[in-house]
Symmetry: none
Subunit: 534 residues, 2 copies
């Protein structure tokens, strides 16, 4: 089995486009198709020409793919029409796709109820459509809809449907778990029967799974182990309901753990993390930090004893090398932090500290103390660094926020519309100078951010390059006899896209926000080596 070839078929742009909340533009589709091609995916399914304006426009401007086969999706001809006379099939044939995949029924119940035609006629639909596409395009694929549910109820009929497609010349017959409810051992058993009893060879079979039981990846692997040689899926598991099989998880497992070859060159496998994250960025979704292989936490280590062991021998704590998929190791600090964990974390912010350094216990106590107050430093590395360096006396006093005053008021704006406007006044000491500034913003924190910039930028013009990129608030449940604490997390970004996170904790949301803001400005000044004003 080692070294055998698995074909990868991406349906992000078609089945993935069914996801609630996802709308691809033509430009999105072009960029995603090019990313998939660059990675080395064998088939890129672009959509359904004739089904909607976006897909029509995309197929009209079809991108030039260098390695992937650009594929169109459609369905078997309508009952009561010849394949040659079916407008939908004609649109597929006319499209600029190099290959066409059509879906057809294989569950007797759906033939009876949804198509409402004799079961034998459905076999004709499949045969005629595949044959016509094969002649016209050279390659046709058949998606066997509801195959596993159909096979469980009426194996003979489901098998006759896929045999019709196979005998009509389908390059791939793709077994679909359309409702997503089939379990891995069922998939494996049914695929084996299809190959052994119904005589369709594995190198003509594909698998298409949905994640409704969280088994889409395992189901795809089970089918491959049973013999199929093509896998359909989507980037990051996009897809309707619970999503399709996640190619980003499947690819490294197939290549690094199961020894299969795909169209992806080994040297290109590290592109995977980047392709996955760029895809989420394009959809304006935060990448899933816990995603297998490619998430930013996928190789994170937390907890004292454990971390010193990871340092000794990563391979005994990591199931694959993070580099192999373009990811990297991350060491985090938290409540669980032991001394060795702290040392590693300090190393990450560029501080080499000897394990016997007498300042370590003090720092560890400080971090633990802050943790118990609600400071979650694993999400705010910049605040962690500022905390430590301040404690060690390394951070100059760039400025001091002496006083602030924020007002939020509902009033009529210049257009006569009732709005809430926020205004902040700050009094800041910068070197020997006291600066009093005021600014208006979208909300109290925005106003404070702007007012502080007005006060600081004349002395530190570098701050003009940074902006707030995210702001999150969480209320920490009150401990007995105290007020609830508010935790504010601020993410800041430079013009070049580099980001850092800071946090603040207080019973007052404004105070917590100010703390995070001050850390963010201070971190920026410290990192750029700004000279403190005297």
């Amino acid at each position: 089995m080692m070294g055998e070839r698995i074909y990868l078929y991406d349906t992000t742009l078609r089945d993935g486009a069914q996801t609630q909340d996802v709308d691809f533009s033509v430009a999105d589709k072009i960029a995603i198709a090019q990313d998939l091609d660059r990675l080395g995916i064998d088939y890129v399914e672009g959509g359904w020409p004739g089904a909607n304006p976006t897909d029509d426009a995309f197929f009209a401007e079809a991108p030039d793919l260098t390695r992937a086969t650009f594929t169109a999706f459609g369905m078997t001809r309508r009952p009561g029409r010849s394949a040659a006379n079916d407008p939908q099939l004609s649109a597929l044939i006319q499209s600029r796709a190099r290959s066409v995949c059509i879906v057809g029924k294989t569950w007797d119940f759906h033939v009876d109820v949804a198509l409402n035609i004799p079961r034998d006629e459905n076999l004709d639909l499949i045969r005629d459509s595949i044959a016509a596409l094969r002649v016209a395009k050279g390659e046709a694929l058949f998606d066997a809809e509801h195959f596993f549910d159909g096979y469980k109820r009426n194996p003979a009929y489901a098998a006759s449907c896929i045999r019709a497609a196979f005998e009509a010349g389908a390059r791939w017959v793709v077994l679909c778990d359309t409702n997503g409810g089939t379990l891995p051992h069922e998939i494996e058993a049914i695929v084996r029967t299809v190959i052994e009893e119904h005589g369709i060879p594995g190198d003509r079979l594909g698998i298409h799974c949905h994640n409704d039981t969280e088994n889409a990846v395992a189901n795809s692997i089970a089918a491959v182990r049973a013999g199929v040689r093509m896998v359909q899926g989507t980037i990051n598991g996009l897809g309707e309901r619970c999503g399709n099989a996640n190619l980003v998880s499947l690819i490294p497992t197939l290549m690094l753990k199961m020894g299969y070859e795909t169209g992806i060159r080994r040297a290109d496998l590290p592109l995977l993390t980047q392709v996955s994250r760029a895809f989420d960025e394009r959809l304006n979704r935060a990448p899933n930090r816990h995603a297998p292989y490619v998430g930013s936490s996928a190789f994170a280590h937390k907890g004292g004893l454990h971390v010193s062991a990871v340092e000794k021998d990563p391979s005994s704590y990591e199931h694959v090398e993070p580099d192999a998929v373009g990811n990297h190791r991350q060491i985090v600090v938290s409540d669980q932090a032991g001394r060795s964990n702290l040392i590693v974390r300090l190393r990450e912010i560029g501080m080499e500290v000897d394990p016997k350094d007498e300042r370590l216990p003090r720092l560890l106590d400080l971090v633990k103390q802050r943790d118990s107050e609600g400071y979650a430093y694993d999400t705010a590395e910049a605040s962690f660094e500022m905390l430590v360096r301040r404690e060690l006396g390394e951070v100059p006093k760039y400025f001091e926020l002496l006083r602030f005053h924020v007002t939020d008021e509902r009033r009529y704006n210049a257009l006569g519309k009732l709005v809430v406007e926020s205004e902040a006044v700050v009094r800041v000491r910068v070197g020997g100078e006291i600066r009093l500034e005021v600014a208006e913003g979208n909300g109290p924190v925005h106003a404070l951010d702007l007012a502080m910039r007005k006060a600081l930028e004349p002395c530190y013009p570098l701050l003009g390059d940074m902006r707030l990129s995210d702001y999150r608030v969480r209320i920490l449940a009150a401990k007995a006899g105290t007020a609830a604490m508010t935790r504010v997390l601020i993410r800041s970004a430079n013009g070049d896209g580099t980001e850092w996170s800071t946090l603040g904790v207080s019973t007052n949301i404004i105070e917590a926000s100010v703390e995070a803001l001050v850390d963010s400005f201070t971190c920026k000044l410290f990192k750029t080596g700004a000279e403190p004003r005297r």
Copy 2:
């Protein structure tokens, strides 16, 4: 196999607490343990007494669980100490847990490198610790760390470790895929060997999987099929790196598809969706709409032919009944479908509306419009009800907030301490009267809440019975060319514990908060049938 009992062991509060971005407070831990108990989980692992202040405080206030076994986590005794003299084991024994689970090494490499002791001595560590705990607590469990990786390298040694635990009387020997890299077919094969060749019966074996290849659920199922009878996992798959096995996905598969019994009564299975979503709300994370079984999109269907077919026979398009897990079908896109969906939602808030009611299209447009603005009414049923009833003219004008003004200022308090104080002034019309009031609070929203109560309570004394129980803020990603929107969710509670949720959306956090506050007061007045002031 039908009807056999699988034991469920939840480690959300211990292994789940290792998740980056997650920090449980003691109050969180208590509430989550109670939810798990109510659902019917067999074991609730609370944490590691002695390891950190949060776990110490939690075990000191250990909740009274009615059905679940409250369990503590720890590790085998240290080398060179007797079990009786090991402070860590003593802390476990002294804890209020009814059962203890300890982790120990089973991979020879880790014994050599991490423990740095002779391999036989590790067997003594395991035996002594399990025996001591079993005597002291009546029940001990053994987590066999790195078992699968260890077994692949040195099966004899890994087997001798778990046999030591078994022979010392461990109720459960839990095989852990600590690094998360093992695939389902490997898990199944190794578990079968453990049972058949190493003689540990399946009803004494558990499985503990991580999701590093997106196979944690499938790996757990594979182990159960091979014979283990206990499954460890977490709510929503929380856990370090890529997470632990997701109990929320596993439970319905085990019970509804594989025919196993668990500690969860069939009639309680519909609690699952609520437990899953409440957990995310507690962590201030958006529930994953694509989550298997419990996600809001898990049973979503798009318009067109498909939907009428779903209505004819849901079972041919849905792998399980949504009701069975407390979820519901969602029909999207077509106006016709949207209308019946709306009727269902109205019924949920106690309004029976005829499908032909001429007000429905107007309501549907309103809800769609609000949805597109970021109002997520599925988390704020009270705001949904107020929206609909206001549109239908059913909500009296109890009061009108004419103007407000909030200030937040850093200043010295009466004790000479630098604090941030928030003060709100409101001008409210109640009947024919205009009331101007001011109040101070912990933050701007707290101050507004108090000021509004001062203005309203003299007219509506009922409001004295309610309080804010939670306040959450989420920033919604900006669409092209617009400012980011802020969504505020407020949870309010009556003295008797009944709760309701309201929301507000605006570019300004204060405006969004005020909107949610006004909805909350209005809802309270409406629900108690208050007479509006004239």
